[in-house]
Every structure is written in C-alpha cells, then in structure tokens.
Symmetry: C2
Subunit: 417 residues, 2 copies
C-alpha cells in the first residue's frame, strides 16, 4: 500500500491485526470426538450440559456422625446432647437404615447421609459414652458439613460453553459426571513455507554463503504451543512459479499460510504479488510500525490468512505473538478470555536507558536478574537477525508507539516466553 | 507427628516442602536421544556446545550495496561517494569476485559479503548513475548492516546448559547449528492411586452412595503439563494389603507416588502407616497449615517421594501447585529458573472481604471480571469438595500465613490456572 505521495505506508500493529480479523468470516472448524483423556487443552465445539446431579446424594465432607441438626441445638461441653448410635454408614452404598429422632450414625468423609439426617457433627466435637451412645458438644446447622445432592452441579446446567479450552480440573468435572467423550474442534493446520536461495535444511552441511533453516523450527514450536498443527512445507527457491505452486497447495489443505524469509531483493515484492495474484482480497497490509518485524505482509485469500514474515529470528517471534497467535485463536474456535489466555508477566525494572523512535512499537528482548530482592530486566543488545538475542532472553518488553524509550530504573512488564 | 502435648502438629507449606526436597538425594533421570522436532519442552541432559560458528561468514542484514566503509567516509547528498558496481552477489553461494578499492557489489539481506567489503550501504541511501556506477549519499561504519562470522554463536560456545527446558527459539538455534538430535531426560513417571470404597470409574453408572473418580483426571492433566508422565494405577479398596501391593508396585516402576482420597475413618492413618511400613525414612509430615489441603501427608521411600492427598478436588489442585510441581521439577532434572517457571499472574482487586485465620495459608479460588477498566477478583465461595469451585475459577489468590483476610478493594496477585 502506498500513500498519496507514493511512499510505502506502514500501519500500527493494532490496525493491522484488526484489518486481518475483520476480514475473516466466522469459521467453524471441523469437529472430532475424543476421549476425555486425550482432550486436555482442546477446545470444545459444543456447549456441554450436565446429564445428572453431582453429587446425586447428600455427602459428608468430614469424619463424624450424621445427625438431625435439631437434635443438637443448644448443645455445649457442659450440657451436651445425648444421641443413640443407630449404626455406621458404609462407604459407597446407600445406608441400610433411616435415622430417627435422637439418633446419630457414624459416617466418614464422602459417606451418604441416611434418611432423617441433615448434617454431620465432626468427630472432634463428640465424646463416646459407649458403643451405643455419644455426647455432642457443639450444635450443627442444617446442611453443615454436607454437600447436598446437586450442590456442585445440577442436571441440565450449562457446565462448559462451546469455545472453552479444557483444563485439568475441567476434565475432572467431566469425569465426575460420567462424560468420557467430548466433541472438540480440529486443530487448524498452519503451513510454514521457507524461502530463500541461501537456506538449507537443518541436517545439511553449510557451504560459505548458506545458512540453515532456523525459522521453521521456531515457528513450528510456537504454533503447536498455541494450539495449531504446524505443517512444514519445506524450503523453496525464490521463484514465482515454484512459490505460487506451494502457496496454492498450502491454501488447499491448511487454514493459514506463513511464508518466511524471501530475502533477495525483489522477493518481498514477489510475496506480495503472489498473494495478490492467487486470490481475493489479497494483501491487506505491507509494512507495520513494529521493530523487529516492520516488513511484515498480511493478506487473505478465500477467507484464509497468509502472512509474509521477515527472515530475522527475533522478528518471527514478535510477529507470531502480535499477529499469528490471535488469528490462530480465532481459527481454532477459541472463545476469547482475556485473562486465561494472558501471557505470563513479570514486573521488573529496566537496567539501562533504551531509546526508541516515536511512531514505532519497539519489542526489546531482555533477560531477568534478581539483585537484592529486586527484579531487573537487562536489555539484550544485538541485531534481530541473531538467534541468540532470543535464546539468551527470558522475555520481551514493549515500548509503545508514542513513547520515546525507557529510562534506567523504570518499571516494565516483561512478557515471558 | 505430634507435639509435646500429644497434639497433631501441622507445619507450614514452606517447611513441609523443604523437608521433602532436602530428603531427596540428587537424581539424574535416564537419558533419551530425540530429534529436535520432538524435543519441544524437554529438558536437556547435557550441556550443549556449538560445533561451529554461526553464521560462518559475514552476512548482510539489509538490501543494498556491499562496500569498503572507508570508501564512503564523508559522503553526503551534496557530495556523494562514487563507486563502481563490480557485480551482484548471488544468494547462497560464495561471491565469485573480490571487491577492490572504490568498488561496490549489489547484495540482498542474508547475502555473503565479498572479500574486500566490510559493510553494506542500504539501498535507500544509494542513487544509480547507470548499471556500472552508484552514488552513496551516507557513510557507513565498519561492520554496519552486517552480521559478522561467529557474531551470533562462536564455535565451542556453551549454548545451553544441562537442565534447560527447550523453547521454540532454542530448537531454532539448534537447527541453525546443524544439531538435529539432542539428549534429554526421560520424563519422571508419577503413579496416581485412587482409594475409596465409594469411588467408581468415570465410565460407570453411579449408584446412590457412589461417586466417580474426578481426581485422577485432574491430576493426570496437571502432571503432564508440568512435564511428568502420569500413570493411572486405578481405583483401590481401602484395604491395607491391597494398597500395600499397589504402592510397592508403583514404587518399583515410577519416580513419585500420589495416593488420593482414602476417605473412610482410619484410612488417612492407614496411608501414613503404609508409608512408614513399606520403607525408610517413611512419613516426613502429616498435616500442613494450608486450606484446602490440610490433611496432606508427605513421605519418602528409597529416595522416591510419596504424597497422600485429601480427596477434595480443590485440595488436589492446591497441593499439586505447592508440593508436587516443585518436587517434580527436581525429579525431572530441571535447572531452577525462578522467572521462566513462574505461573501467569494477573494483578486484580478483590471484590469483597475475605476472612482467614492466622496460622493458615488460605488459597481462595477466584474468577476475574473487568469493570470500567479495572480487573476484579471475585472469590468463589463453596466447599473445597465442589469441583465447580475450580471449573468456574480463573485462578487462585493466596492469603499468607500471618495475614487475617483480605479487605474489599485490596490488590491481590491471581495465579492463573
């Protein structure tokens, strides 16, 4: 995109992302049935309603004696309530007897209350007279120390909404309700196309002038962690027809296409031209006010997003966090939850002045160090083409668009990775 | 453990954890060779040194002209430096020519500098006279816009230490060095033993008095996320011999044993007795000043930790975070990194007063809500036996040992899960 004077226009990160998101029509990924054991971190494709009450009976939450609470009212250590022991509740079966007025039944945590009982006196508040009689030294209220039938979950309650990502405790809840299979969305496939005549596979020796493929490994890990299914297409020559073929193939059998590198003069324009030539609407933005990552290209073809990513490793990581991860969430069917999807943050002080230009969002790699009880973020200097600026870093500090750098000692939020 | 008055003594979370960690001798889990594609999140079992320089040659970081910087000194728009174009650098191969004094060579990002060149002028600062000559309108310093040979990583540099957990960018760096296989530690196996005569498998219908196994599903997910290999042993009767057999089997072929439930009166003591009977040193603590989770038991047999966990779902999650995860990290061979292993935290304000007793660490489940730009943490009330106190929660707020509750509007750290 060029402005009225013919200069190349770069747009803000926020605008660029909005442009992509607003141009994707709602998609509903295919569904898949999985056993709950295999569903950790998967996204539900349907609302789930409870088929039954949980628990289905009143359960004791303590070890003690099931009683009718009215029999204990006013009981104290000096004037205890005397109750007859009607028997002991066996675990896992319905009590064989009902409780009558003035009776108590020995019960363990998790035991089912007998009919006639509405509460449980903790064993600590009971004295044994003999096998047949106890003294209760403290009154209990109705329902005290009891989980009532349906108190946790009621039959037909909506327990999880479509788009919810399942956590360990959620799988536990499903198991508790006897739901052992769920329908989840298939993970979106994301094609990774590496371009550049100088790039060779990781398992090849390099000649002078060549460099091994770093970015597709970094990207594959980022995609998998974000809930996508990475598909490495391979390394391709900077050639219009070669690239057109692999992009078209990728669009056919994946939900997003990432093209990294394209470093020879003219290839950047070639990626943009390819996206525009292959389908509609084509390129949405070309250049973003972000560092590293400025030459990034974003487009859509047949409702599938494509990104042209600069070849520098640090730019890959920054562009992934800012663009690809939110778009991938949308394609995955994930319901937005700003809190649960938040990255881990550490509040730290920046260890030295860092300059930044206004009109550019700067993403500074930092390592963290504790010094006398304070956490300091140490900027890692070095070109964004250096992979070690990422491997030595603990996270990233963002200097916003309109801020002119950071002053030593200033408090910053470090987004860990 | 009982104090001098014979009362059961509970110890602080910190002391209990220290007791376990200090009683485990250093372990080195078995090693396993994996391709880097399969090594995401795995823990390195050896230091890794670089087999070569990265890059192996000086590379351009921009599109432009490779020059000898001294030829550009003093160049301005008014008085540009005139340089002869000696040729164009092809990507991926060694330049076929050297640069002489007064010469420039067209080069793309990632291209190899020819002999005689020490820097690159960006294409933006060049005017073309004709195919044979350019005007340079801005001087460059030596090494400007160039990544020098070995600037990223030098041969024999220590790149990752034993105990480092591999992130996407780390795998990228290994690929860049041609390292396609690594030695990692095997994941520690963690046995999960469910006890309780009232517990039935998730796929069974429940009769009155019975409840399905929730905790082993919650635990299996937590263990896998923390880098362990969960082994569900099944559901066992509250019977000394039955439990002794499965605990002994679990100790033989796993690195940690978790025993959940044991809810009938006397079973808690049975778990402690079993741990003491089976081996040395046996039970280390019985009862911790934490809520939920107080009745927890910790022990060690033959250098393998065992935990007896209360059956309440919320207690399982809290005990896991406080005890099992740090111990699992130790068993995994993970080098400590207080920052990278930190949980995701959200700063919020608590929405209502919450009371807590001194001498007890209270773990309150909360959901998060944004109201007029502020984040509020809403305590989820309800017994710790309710699974929904976990499924409705976004995270946990800790009220420390000596603090008497929280006041409405107070700022809290929410540990997300």
């Amino acid at each position: 995109m060029r402005d009225m004077l013919g200069r190349e226009e770069v747009i803000s990160v926020e605008k660029a992302l909005q442009l992509v998101l607003s141009n994707i029509s709602p998609v509903s990924p295919p569904e898949k049935k999985l056993s709950i054991e295999d569903s950790y971190k998967r996204i539900l494709s349907r609302d789930i309603f409870s088929p039954e009450d949980l628990p289905q009976f009143a359960r004791s939450t303590v070890d003690g004696f099931a009683v009718n609470s009215s029999d204990t009212f006013g009981a104290t250590e000096t004037f205890p309530a005397y109750l007859n022991v009607a028997g002991e509740i066996s675990m896992g079966i319905m009590p064989a007897f009902d409780l009558k007025k003035g009776e108590a039944a020995k019960i363990a945590t998790g035991g089912m209350l007998p009919k006639g009982a509405d509460s449980v006196v903790m064993v600590e508040h009971v004295q044994h007279i003999d096998a047949r009689m106890i003294e209760v030294m403290k009154p209990v209220a109705p329902c005290e120390n009891v989980i009532m039938a349906g108190e946790d979950i009621r039959k037909n309650d909506l327990i999880f909404m479509k788009g919810h990502r399942l956590r360990p405790q959620d799988i536990g809840a499903l198991a508790g309700l006897g739901i052992t299979e769920v329908l989840v969305f298939e993970r979106p496939k994301v094609s990774i196309i590496s371009t550049g005549d100088e790039i060779v596979p990781a398992n090849c020796p390099v000649n002078l002038g060549q460099i091994r493929d770093v970015n597709s490994f970094n990207l594959a890990g980022l995609i998998a962690e974000a809930g996508g299914d990475p598909v490495k297409r391979g390394i391709f020559r900077d050639d219009y027809n070669v690239l057109r073929k692999v992009i078209e193939e990728s669009l056919r059998d994946s939900e997003m296409v990432l093209i990294t590198g394209g470093s020879s003069v003219g290839t950047k324009d070639m990626t943009a031209k390819l996206i525009n030539d292959i389908g509609e609407p084509g390129v949405l933005f070309h250049g973003v006010s972000i560092k590293p990552g400025k030459p990034m290209i974003g487009g859509i073809i047949n409702n599938k997003p494509l990104f042209g990513l600069p070849g520098h490793p640090a730019a890959i990581t920054v562009c992934f966090e800012q663009f690809i991860e939110p778009v991938l969430g949308r394609l995955s069917g994930l319901a937005e939850n700003v809190f649960r999807d938040r990255k881990r943050i550490v509040i730290a002080k920046i260890s030295k002045n860092v300059s930044s230009s206004s009109g550019r969002e700067d993403h500074i790699r930092v390592s963290l160090e504790e010094r006398e009880g304070e956490i300091w973020a140490l900027p890692i200097l070095g070109k964004s083409g250096l992979i070690t600026t990422l491997t030595k870093a603990d996270g990233i500090v963002v200097i916003p668009l309109r801020k002119l750098g950071l002053e030593q000692g200033e408090t910053v939020e470090v987004r860990l990775f």
